[in-house]
């Protein structure tokens, strides 16, 4: 549909301005629909029409970008499947900030809670798109569960613990990594993030038998619930504390905006990690033993190990999972 026939054009005054106003109105409508996170073109014919127009008419696309820019929004992608996927600039009214998200946390744990909530989002994405190619393959659909994400992060923290207590802590140790022997007690902001995570209980119940919001599964469940509201995840079942699949919108957001932003931050911290093309996650087939089957949640997550450059360290870690345990017991 071209702009010529638009009956609803609001400015019928000068004959030259009417088409431009109508087109701008359509562009704004497309953005407005993109801001409704759970709306997809497949379920809205007008949306479908506008997306089609964006893809066909470069002028319309340009106008859409201009309108979005004025609103403080970046158009990340427009596709038939995901519709218009937008990202908020830092000072946009539409952006969600971690401070607003984790607002309820207060007191001395405020900073830690904020970090954990943000970390949970990162972990969910990491398990939802385990390989680099999963982010670029538009047809990929990831599956994640609350318990799976928690087990995954805990395995990662276990590996980090094994590494810091191991004989060779110099992999990242050169540039400002925490000292290998325990956290500094007086400066909580210098404590390694994984220690904070490892210290939190995985789950717990309150007196009125709800899930403990401050536990790691509580934090992860909240993150996933928020992603569902944002149209990034779709619940598919109750198993594993809640199981979800990813949407194309989530993939675009992680790929085009979130990962880059986080990489940039890491870069300013001087951390650069080279990754192989297959990703760093492996499923380690567990040795069948009786205890294992009795507690399926224990090993359900994917034991993760870093990729090729660190094979030696990771093998040492996976072969001796209970090496640090006896010391604690």
């Amino acid at each position: 549909m071209s702009g010529d026939g638009e009956a609803g054009a609001p400015a019928p005054g000068a004959p030259g301005r009417a088409p431009v106003g109508a087109v701008a109105r359509d562009a704004a409508e497309l953005i407005a629909r993109g801001l409704r996170p759970r709306l997809v073109p497949a379920r809205d014919s007008r949306y479908r029409e506008l997306v089609g127009r964006y893809l066909r008419e470069p002028g319309f696309a340009e106008l859409t970008h201009a309108v979005a820019d004025g609103l403080g929004i970046v158009v990340l992608d427009v596709s038939e499947r995901a519709g218009l996927v937008a990202g908020g600039l830092a000072d946009s009214a539409f952006a969600v900030r971690i401070g607003d998200y984790a607002r309820r946390a207060g007191g001395e744990h405020r900073a830690a809670d904020r970090m954990l909530h943000a970390l949970a989002q990162l972990a969910v994405a990491a398990l939802a798109f385990p390989r680099p190619a999963d982010l670029t393959d538009a047809s990929y659909v990831g599956r994640v569960s609350v318990d799976g994400v928690d087990a995954f992060v805990r395995e990662a923290t276990r590996l980090l613990e094994a590494r810091t207590s191991g004989p060779d802590p110099l992999l990242d140790g050169a540039d400002g990594a925490p000292p290998p022997d325990g956290p500094a007690a007086d400066e909580p902001r210098l404590e390694a993030a994984w220690r904070l995570y490892a210290r939190r209980p995985a789950t717990g119940t309150t007196r009125d038998s709800r899930r403990l919001a401050g536990s790691t599964t509580g934090v992860i469940a909240r993150a996933m619930g928020f992603l569902v509201e944002s149209g990034c995840l779709v619940p598919v079942g109750e198993e594993g504390g809640g199981t979800f699949r990813t949407t194309p919108r989530y993939q675009v957001q992680v790929r085009e905006l979130a990962a880059d932003a986080a990489m940039e931050e890491l870069l300013t911290l001087g951390v650069v990690t080279v990754a192989g093309p297959d990703g760093g996650l492996r499923v380690v087939p567990a040795v069948p033993d009786l205890l294992d089957a009795g507690a399926p949640g224990d090993g359900a997550g994917d034991p993760a190990r870093p990729s090729a450059p660190e094979t030696g360290a990771s093998r040492q870690a996976t072969d001796g999972p209970d090496a640090p345990e006896p010391a604690d017991v």
Binding site: I98, A133, A177, L269, G276
Partner: protein, 597 residues
């Protein structure tokens, strides 16, 4: 015949006299010990059964030896049967200190022998009875008893032969010196008690088998094995599930070359073995369960059936998943490895290696910055909620809605009674009743005349037809008026100083208040009418009075109703006792009087 006076049970019951009992050593042996590599094991159940079997031996001997007797062919007699009868006779005659004398037993046993061979002489019957009795006592032997040899296994596995001494009937002397017979405990237990069993009963067989299995601990063994197998199955299923989940995420993360095929093979072998074994258990135990009557054994069997059935179900589930496993692998491989590369090109970010792991390793403050940057992008944009000021104020000022804890009241339903619409309209009723009301008591009219009048009043409208039908029905009804009721009402009306009786109490039949009853009489004249057929009734009004003064009233009717029948009916029906029967009679007659053409 001597009479050994010692009590038999004191010496011959092995359970009461272990030192002299050769089988006494077995009493302490635990049953059901599954000795590896040994031929047998101490089993006092086996010894008990052998002893019980030995007790029947003398009876079988009787039948085996009867051909060898001199003098006559006694093979026609069923000796074992007679022997059981003899033991029964003695047992029945036994009270606490006395049994039956020889003569008593013989007297009762001889007719039984005679019944088996009625043509043989009576002396032979007596001889047979005596022979049976003597053999039960085993008169010829020294200690007047029997013995049998059986074997048991010593706790160390050796086979030992043992002798079992027993008696069936013993002779005792009472204080007066008279000799009488008693059946021993063994004879009573086995030959009277234990043999009284329905040997063809599947239920008994099941009970015995189950009891055996339970006593030897076999049932719990089977149960433990089944539970262990189920546990193993759950483990396999869990391992498989984990591998498949990983495969769905990333085919390369699971070793489909060696590990998973080995797992699948192993699990399939396990399922196959257990499936065969447990189905066999299921078939047998289920039969025991269904035919056992003892609740405890039944429950034990039912428990095992439940467990084993659950095991079989889980094995089947696992097997189905195992068969699907490779299909999942192939499908995921197709999807993940042969999918076209992303249109945008370029490689994505390895979120774990490049982002999560380094972030976790950073101090909390720095990690919060990195993760916070990721957060903003990952969750996307959200339109800020900004309520209009007017709505906000309204919302803030609105008083909270009070809820009635009992909920909204339930509206009371308005129920109206439903009545069948009247068959005839008011107009038809008016015409018909007016016509009948106008009848002169002294001048009854013909139905045909009334019909004509009704049609005239109806003036061709549909109401005319209706009124005519109604009139016919009323006239028919009047053929058998409820005279008794009318009479009572007439009395009441008279006593009540002319108070009008309740109208309509007699149904649609109209009455002049209290006294004049409509009466129709068939005098044989046929009705000539386009619509109706039958008798052209004479319709008139009468007054019902008591029997002593029937004449006047009859005159009222009789003026025109010359028919004797009418007068008779009138007189008869004045009698209350006969009224109902007559009514029914008349109604039947009336039904034939007029019919719709």
């Amino acid at each position: 015949m001597s009479s050994p006076a010692r009590p038999p049970s004191a010496r011959h019951d092995p359970r009461q006299n272990p030192p002299t009992d050769p089988a006494g050593g077995l009493a302490g042996a635990a049953d059901g010990g599954l000795a590896d590599g040994r031929l047998g094991w101490p089993d006092d159940g086996m010894a008990r059964r052998l002893k019980a079997l030995a007790l029947t031996q003398p009876l079988h001997d009787l039948d085996a030896r009867k051909r060898l007797l001199d003098g006559a062919d006694l093979s026609v007699y069923a000796m074992a049967e007679l022997a059981l009868h003899a033991i029964d006779l003695v047992t029945v005659a036994m009270d606490f200190d006395r049994g039956a004398s020889h003569d008593q037993v013989l007297r009762r046993l001889t007719p039984l022998a005679a019944a088996q061979a009625p043509r043989r002489p009576a002396t032979e019957h007596e001889r047979v009875a005596r022979w049976v009795l003597d053999n039960l006592i085993n008169v010829g032997s020294v200690d007047r008893g029997f013995d049998a040899v059986y074997g048991t296994y010593h706790p160390d596995g050796r086979y030992e032969r043992r002798r079992f001494d027993f008696k069936l009937l013993v002779e005792l002397a009472d204080p007066a010196g008279e000799i009488y017979l008693r059946a021993t405990d063994e004879a009573v237990t086995v030959l009277v008690g234990a043999l009284d069993t329905d040997v063809t009963s599947a239920q008994v067989a099941a009970e015995v088998t189950l009891d055996n299995l339970i006593r030897r601990g076999r049932l719990s063994d089977a149960r433990a094995a089944a539970e262990a197998a189920r546990y193993r199955t759950v483990q396999y299923a869990e391992q498989l599930r984990r591998s498949l989940e990983g495969t769905r995420r990333d085919v390369l993360s699971v070793d489909w070359l060696h590990t998973v095929p080995a797992l699948v093979d192993e699990a399939l072998g396990h399922v196959e073995a257990r499936y065969r074994h447990e189905n066999a258990i299921l078939t047998h135990i289920r039969r025991y369960r269904d035919s056992a009557a003892d609740p405890a054994r039944k429950r034990a069997a039912a428990d095992l059936v439940t467990i084993v059935a659950d095991c079989v179900r889980r094995h089947t589930q696992l097997q189905a998943r195992l068969l699907e496993a490779f299909a999942v692998f192939r499908a995921e491989q197709d999807r993940q490895q042969f999918a076209p590369p992303a249109a945008g090109g370029g490689t994505g970010v390895d979120l774990y290696t490049q982002l999560l792991a380094p972030t976790l390793a950073r101090p909390a403050g720095e990690a919060a910055r990195v993760a916070g940057a990721f957060f903003g992008g990952a969750v996307g944009v959200r339109a800020p909620r900004a309520p209009r000021l007017a709505d906000l104020v309204d919302a803030l000022l609105r008083p909270p809605v009070e809820r009635d804890p009992l909920g909204a009241p339930i509206p009371e339903a308005e129920l109206s009674t439903w009545e069948e619409p009247a068959r005839f309209g008011d107009d038809a009723w008016t015409i018909a009743l007016d016509l009948l009301d106008e009848l002169d008591p002294d001048a009854p009219r013909r139905l045909s005349g009334l019909l004509a009048a009704a049609r005239e009043r109806g003036a061709g409208e549909p109401v005319a037809t209706e009124a005519a039908q109604l009139l016919v029905l009323l006239a028919l009804h009047a053929v058998s008026p409820r005279l008794a009721a009318a009479h009572r009402r007439g009395d009441a009306a008279a006593q009540g100083a002319g108070a009008p009786a309740a109208p309509g109490a007699q149904g649609p039949a109209p009455d002049t208040p209290g006294e004049r009853v409509l009466l129709a009489v068939d005098d044989g004249t046929p009705l000539d009418d386009p619509e109706f057929g039958g008798a052209d009734l004479l319709v008139g009004r009468v007054v019902v009075t008591d029997r002593p003064a029937p004449v006047d009233e009859r005159g009222a009717v009789g003026a025109d109703a010359r028919d004797a029948d009418a007068a008779e009916a009138d007189a008869a029906e004045a009698d209350a006792a006969e009224a109902d029967a007559a009514e029914a009679e008349a109604a039947r007659a009336g039904a034939e009087l007029v019919g719709t053409r």
